[in-house]
């Protein structure tokens, strides 16, 4: 094996000459392109500032204590405030979480904690896990109006719950279920295997291990998932538009209809000329989303600080 001298073939020499001449052009190209990338980032920030700024500036004009504490009065001019819609939104958030959180967390625990268990149940469990994972993935990709359509078909018409809190809550629970399952799965995966083994080795049963060791360690991640779902419920409109009715009165029971904040914004924008009140409602919505983002940020920062401590 003899390696030839390749340092001075014609091609190599040509390449060397060319690259020296080409260098300036390449660096100019890089400068120009990076300038464009900076510009792109600036445009993104500007878009955010324009949208949020516009909604805030026009919206805050109509926000005052009265706006927040009086119920809407209906009519073409969108009289009244938003109080009942805030309460209805909170009702719906509570109801949906009450349904979806136990189901979602339970499903995630099953998917993660029982996946290694092949001896009891064996093949059945394994294929079930696959099917469920596929189901979660499919659910996450279904557009929300389809959930609405489904809720309308099943809960509103077939089960005759009518346009009601109950129908909306059930449809909404289906909508956020994949979010809760996914984030809980991720949270469970970050719990080190050694913790589980430590507990199991001490003679704890699997459930004791999960409830006393794994779940407490995964709580910040699970809360993040729940907060994401809260944000999703507050923002969602299409599902509730076709399941909740739209009455601006406060729902009396599970079978009365209602109107969430975002639904209220939609009605104000489409059916009235009260654009300023719609903007005010929009500002309230954005503020709640910012608050939720801040909470999530806080949790994840605490979480990563904790991880660093462990290492």
């Amino acid at each position: 094996m003899n390696v030839p001298d390749i340092t001075s073939t014609n091609a190599m020499n040509l390449a060397e000459k060319r690259s020296a001449a080409d260098l300036r052009r390449r660096q100019a190209a890089q400068k120009l392109s990076f300038g464009l990338f900076w510009l792109g980032a600036l445009v993104v920030i500007l878009i955010m500032l324009v949208v949020v700024g516009y909604v805030f500036i026009t919206g805050f004009k109509s926000i005052n204590l009265q706006f927040l504490t009086t119920p809407p009065k209906g009519g073409l001019s969108g009289e009244g405030g938003i109080s009942t819609t805030v309460i209805t939104t909170l009702y719906l958030v509570g109801l949906i979480l009450a349904i979806s959180a136990p189901l979602g967390i339970g499903a995630a625990v099953f998917l993660i904690e029982y996946q290694g268990q092949t001896q009891s149940g064996g093949k059945f469990i394994r294929s079930l896990l696959q099917v469920v994972n596929f189901g979660v993935e499919t659910l996450a990709g279904i557009p929300s109006i389809i959930f609405g359509l489904f809720g309308y078909a099943l809960f509103v018409s077939t089960l005759k719950f009518g346009f009601s809190l109950l129908s909306a809550a059930l449809a909404g629970a289906c909508l956020v279920l994949p979010t809760i399952i996914r984030t809980t799965q991720e949270a469970l995966l970050t719990v080190p295997v050694s913790l589980r083994e430590g507990s199991l080795a001490l003679g704890a049963t699997r459930w004791q291990t999960i409830s006393k060791v794994v779940l407490p360690a995964a709580i910040p991640g699970i809360i993040t998932g729940i907060m994401l779902s809260v944000g999703r419920i507050i923002s969602e409109t299409a599902v509730f538009y076709v399941t909740l009715g739209g009455s601006y009165r406060l729902p009396k029971n599970l079978f009365s209809g209602g109107r969430t904040l975002s639904l209220h914004l939609f009605y104000l924008a489409m059916d009235t000329n009260a654009f300023e009140k719609a903007m005010g409602t929009g500002a309230v919505l954005i503020v709640s989303i910012i608050l939720i983002n801040l909470i999530i940020d806080l949790i994840s920062r605490k979480l990563s600080a904790g991880v660093r401590l462990h290492q």
Binding site: I6, T9, A15, D22
Partner: protein
Amino acid sequence: MNAIKLETHSYSLYYGKFRALEDISIEIPEKQVTAIIGPSGCGKSTFLRTFNRMNDLIPGVRTEGQALLDGEDIFSMDVVALRQRVGMVFQKPNPFPKSIYDNVAYGPRVNGIREKNVLDEIVETSLRGAALWNEVKDNLGKSGLALSGGQQQRLCIARALAVKPSVILMDEPAASLDPIATQRIEELIRQLVEHYTIVIVTHNMQQAGRVSDYTAFFFTDESRTGRLVEFNLTRKIFTNPQDKRTEDYITGRFG
């Protein structure tokens, strides 16, 4: 002794406040293999990466003192031009997920070579230079990732040769290879040194003894700051070390 290719004078490197390398002065001769040895964490790789400024990628890195290539200050050079003159082969073979041909042609192409015949010639000569041509000449379209570990590493060497560097830095190039592949890389290094200046970091002292003409011994203490303890002809370092720490390390008294 050959002309001096690479040199540093009172060179120190900091990660933020942490001093990783302190006061290193060395003169690395042209067209020789210089091995850098020492215990892990002594800054061998960091020092090697000084010569093609790969440390620039790490935020918060600051240097003091001088580092020169052919007598020119490395830090005032254009970094892209510098890296065309100083090639590098990494610890783990890292071919791009592209064909063998495209891997080798990558360097010339980013340098603006478009002509098929010129590229063909560069690819062939570079692969010959890395002693890989005969094994791959019928499969140039195959993914570089489909080669064996040793072949991948020679592909990475060919890829480095294709930009016509005068220096090749090697960061433990055989660390992830089996003994036979390692032997082929070592033979290749001995052949390449006829035309290139080679600096190789290795934790394997036998390897340093087999392939290098000169050896630099780096060491560190609890401070984790790396220092150059001794630099000399390899044969002198191995038979007659001047420093007690070098001797202890060579004879295996440190891990």
